[in-house]
């Protein structure tokens, strides 16, 4: 029961993240959206790993690796957004809706 609940929550978080990615062009919002998608996938994965007898350690290790990978990508993305704002005065990509 709880596992299905967690898995479906994970799936819904992925959906939320996808919506944020497509509908919220401010780059900091998009970085948050990427993290939502990633964490939703991991929650789904964690629930799937708990279905058998005991908790499978391999997915847990993969998820920890994935969290560190997401942090690395977020760090570079955040740096690029600041550099973009410094050079162009906006946190939106050129030719995307949302220019103020």
């Amino acid at each position: 029961m709880s596992l299905t609940l967690f898995a479906l929550t994970g799936a819904a978080l992925v959906g939320l993240g996808v919506y944020g990615l497509l509908a919220r062009p401010h780059m900091l919002r998009r970085i948050i959206a990427f993290n939502l998608i990633g964490s939703g996938l991991f929650l789904f994965f964690g629930a799937a790993a708990a279905r058998g007898t005991g908790l499978d350690p391999i997915p847990q290790a993969l998820i920890i690796t994935g969290i560190v990978v997401a942090l690395s990508a977020s760090a570079l993305a955040v740096g690029l957004v600041v550099a973009l704002a410094r050079s162009s005065g906006t946190a939106y990509l050129p030719d995307e809706e949302g220019r103020l």
């Binding site: 709880s2 299905t4 609940l5 967690f6 898995a7 479906l8 929550t9 799936a11 819904a12 992925v14 959906g15 939320l16 993240g17 996808v18 919506y19 944020g20 497509l22 509908a23 919220r24 401010h26 900091l28 919002r29 948050i32 993290n35 939502l36 964490s39 991991f42 929650l43 789904f44 964690g46 629930a47 799937a48 790993a49 279905r51 058998g52 908790l55 499978d56 350690p57 391999i58 847990q60 290790a61 993969l62 998820i63 920890i64 690796t65 969290i67 560190v68 990978v69 942090l71 690395s72 760090a75 570079l76 955040v78 740096g79 957004v81 600041v82 550099a83 704002a85 946190a91 103020l100």
Partner: protein
Amino acid sequence: MSVALDITLCALVLGVGWATVAGHGVFRAVIFFITYGLLLAIVWARLGAYDVALAEAAISAGLTGVLLLAAHGRLRRLNASQEVPLHLNLPAAVVAVGIAAGLGWAWFALPAPTAPDLSQALPQSGVGNPVTAVLLNFRAWDTLLESVILLAALLGLWMLARDHAWDKPLGLPYHARPGGVLASFGRVLPPIGLIFGVYLVWAGADTTGGAFQGGTVLAAVCLVTIMAGVLHAPRVEQAAWRAALVLGPGVFVLSGIAGAVFAQGFLALPPALAKPAIVTIEAALTVSIAVTLVLLVIGPPDEGEQDA
């Protein structure tokens, strides 16, 4: 009772997740994101995945949150933090619902679970925590590349510096008020944090913890001391800091090669030596992870906006 708790928890996670997407203002989205990470850590604890819970809280909510907060502050000063009014984007909603529904469907379509049998391998791994055994022994190649990813992200971040600022200290110039709360905090916290961080790495061999979680705590300590002005932000050309960046991945690669020369193959750890080898690799990795995380948070060399 526990199902009711889980339902409440999931509803909270979804509600806060929704707020990061739909709430007004980027700043609030960042704050909601940090809350979201902490709630998710509780979900991981409910699943019994304590190592993941710790990583989620320390790395996702903590460090990513700090990165986003710092970036928001910077964007505000550059007048780039405002957002155009948000409105419902129907095509995006259709795609999002479709993907979520697809994953939901897949959950019910999954065949019976099959997990690899680790009962033979775990006693040979040298550590008691199965997650650490996977990270540092069975799938050490993943973990090695993961430590290199942190390094690549830092190199990429440094490439965003302006050329004339390259020889300046890393990050924005920062001044703490001498004798202020932060300055005294910066002197009291490090010893406590240092002990906790080292404990996490050491304990990670047999119980919850590990190099990434411990490294994050040490990074937080180091950041506070820099912000308090006790420790000065380094420059790129300071060799000791650059050496600290590559120490962990370097020791990892060399021990992998030693496995190829003296044991059964690349990254192989003979069972008798596995524990000391893993502790050595983790210790070196922790130093590099902590330093890399600190430098990722403080950012590339920068002089601020006044000269732009």
